[in-house]
Each structure stands twice: as structure tokens, then as C-alpha cells.
């Protein structure tokens, strides 16, 4: 896939596609930097990867209809249960150039009503990693 404009990502939360309500998505996967520097004549520090952390952040247009944004996210937050988040760069078939990123996550906060007067009502969600596999990249 060549360079592209980000406008057709797919986002599913526990199997429900919420892409058409989402206007922003970010996957962040990071590892702590552990300093492993010993005495060395090189003069450089040496770092290793420590514990990893992952978060998928989405902004959705709020919708209180059954089976839509609020019902899914509110249930996920209030139950404290882990859910599966799947993000794909475009709606095209999964492939080497259109991989899926899957993560088991929990919601630790949920703001069902937000926005200034005159703004479209949106809700920003941070899905925090709560599984064991991290963000799993798949191409098929």
C-alpha cells in the first residue's frame, strides 16, 4: 500500500464495528527503557527493553442507540471485563499491506457526555492492555 490518507480505518470493539462513529484512532505500544550500561570505554549507554505497555485510543461520535457507542463502552467499563479491540488501517481485506492489530483491553475510565456547546458530542476512550499478548499484528 502506498502513502495514504487516514480515512477508512476499521475499529471493532467486542465484535461490533464502530468505525463509522470514530474520527480518530491511535495504537501505542511501548517498552520501558532499562539501563544496562556497564563500565565501557565506548562512552555510550546501553539500553534493553523492559516491561511493555499498550494503549489504543479512539475518539467516537457519541451515540446512545442500542448496540452503538454508549451501550458497548458503558457496559465494558462498568463490568470491568476485558474486551477485544481490532484496528485495521483500511476496510480492505486483511493482507500484508493491510494488517490487523488486535489487543485484549479494559476501560479504566469512561466519560459518556462531553463537549462544548455547539460541538458534536464525542467520547474519547483509552483501551488499556489487559491480556498477555500485547498488540498482535496479523496479515491474514
Amino acid at each position: 500500500m502506498p502513502k495514504y490518507v487516514h480515512k477508512d480505518a476499521t475499529i471493532t470493539v467486542n465484535g461490533t464495528a464502530l468505525s463509522d462513529h470514530a474520527n480518530q484512532v491511535t495504537i501505542e505500544d511501548s517498552a520501558e527503557e532499562v539501563d544496562l550500561t556497564g563500565f565501557t570505554p565506548s562512552g555510550y549507554r546501553e539500553f534493553g527493553q523492559g516491561l511493555k505497555d499498550a494503549t489504543i485510543t479512539c475518539t467516537f461520535f457519541q451515540d446512545y442507540a442500542a448496540g452503538s457507542v454508549d451501550s458497548i463502552l458503558a457496559t465494558m467499563y462498568s463490568s470491568g471485563a476485558a474486551g477485544t479491540i481490532v484496528v485495521k488501517p483500511t476496510s480492505a481485506t486483511v493482507s500484508a499491506t493491510n494488517p490487523t492489530y488486535t489487543m485484549v483491553a479494559k476501560l479504566f475510565s469512561y466519560g459518556p457526555v462531553a463537549g462544548a456547546v455547539g460541538d458534536a458530542a464525542t467520547v474519547e476512550c483509552s483501551f488499556r492492555h489487559s491480556g498477555t499478548a500485547g498488540v498482535v499484528r496479523a496479515t491474514a
Binding site: K7, T10, I11, S19, D20, F61, A120
Partner: protein, 137 residues
């Protein structure tokens, strides 16, 4: 997907509750005051992934009469109000789904008094309202 014809028709239908106003979903070649017309303006596509949301802006333009007509000004004052039976804003927002054509409708601003020049005819007094529509793409 939002249909512009449905949106314009529904806006005109909402305006029909204003007594004595001749509303048209389309631009009028030779408006006879008091009259209202609907003009599509900016369209912002791709407001959500997969073009799930679009934001459409439309202008509702109302003509009330000649500038020298005191009655036209009195009428326009009532049309400019944010509420009441002759309020353009209230009429447009009386059905924010536009008969199910869109997700939401907001009247965001009004120009206040405007003079519209007509070729070969006296200028007419009126105003323009900006309508923001949130529609499914």
C-alpha cells in the same frame, strides 16, 4: 447516505410552519417576499472513518420586503428571534432529524439584516441563517 434533495425538502417543510412564508427547497429566480430559499454551502466529508459522518452546511435565505417597508422590518425582527411561532431558527430546529434524513441539525448563526439586490427590481430586505447538518455518509 444523506440525500441533499431530502435535506432541502425537509428544511423547507420545517419552515412551512411560519405563517405567510413562501418557502422553497431550491433557489428562487425571482423571490416574491416574504419568501425563503435553501442553498447548499460547504460539505465536509470524512468526519468519521469510512465516511461514516459528513457535515453539511446550508444557507436558508429569507426575503421580507423592500427596505422602505416598515412592516417588512417588523416581520424580520420576529423571524430573527430564537423562539416563537415566526422564529426561523425554531422552525428549522423543530425536527432535528429532518424527517429522518440526518442525525442532527443546528442553526449556528444568522447574519442579521441583509440587503439583497435584484436586477431591474427594488432591493429587498432579508437575512441568512447558517444551518449545520450532521449526516450519515
Amino acid at each position: 447516505m444523506a440525500d441533499l434533495g431530502d435535506i432541502r425538502a425537509a428544511l423547507a417543510a420545517n419552515l412551512s410552519s411560519i405563517p405567510g412564508l413562501n418557502e422553497s427547497p431550491y433557489l428562487l429566480g425571482n423571490p416574491t417576499p416574504p419568501a425563503a430559499e435553501v442553498q447548499p454551502a460547504d460539505i465536509d466529508y470524512h468526519q468519521a472513518m469510512g465516511n461514516g459522518v459528513e457535515r453539511w452546511t446550508l444557507i436558508v435565505r429569507v426575503f421580507v420586503g423592500t427596505m422602505s417597508d416598515k412592516g417588512a422590518q417588523i416581520r424580520l425582527d420576529r423571524l430573527l428571534a430564537s423562539s416563537g411561532s415566526e422564529s426561523v431558527k425554531a422552525a428549522i430546529e423543530s425536527d432535528t432529524s429532518l424527517a429522518g434524513a440526518v442525525d442532527d441539525v443546528t442553526v449556528t448563526r444568522c447574519t442579521g439584516y441583509r440587503i439583497f439586490n435584484r436586477e431591474g427590481m427594488p432591493s429587498v430586505l432579508g437575512a441568512e441563517w447558517t444551518v449545520s447538518v450532521l449526516a450519515i455518509g
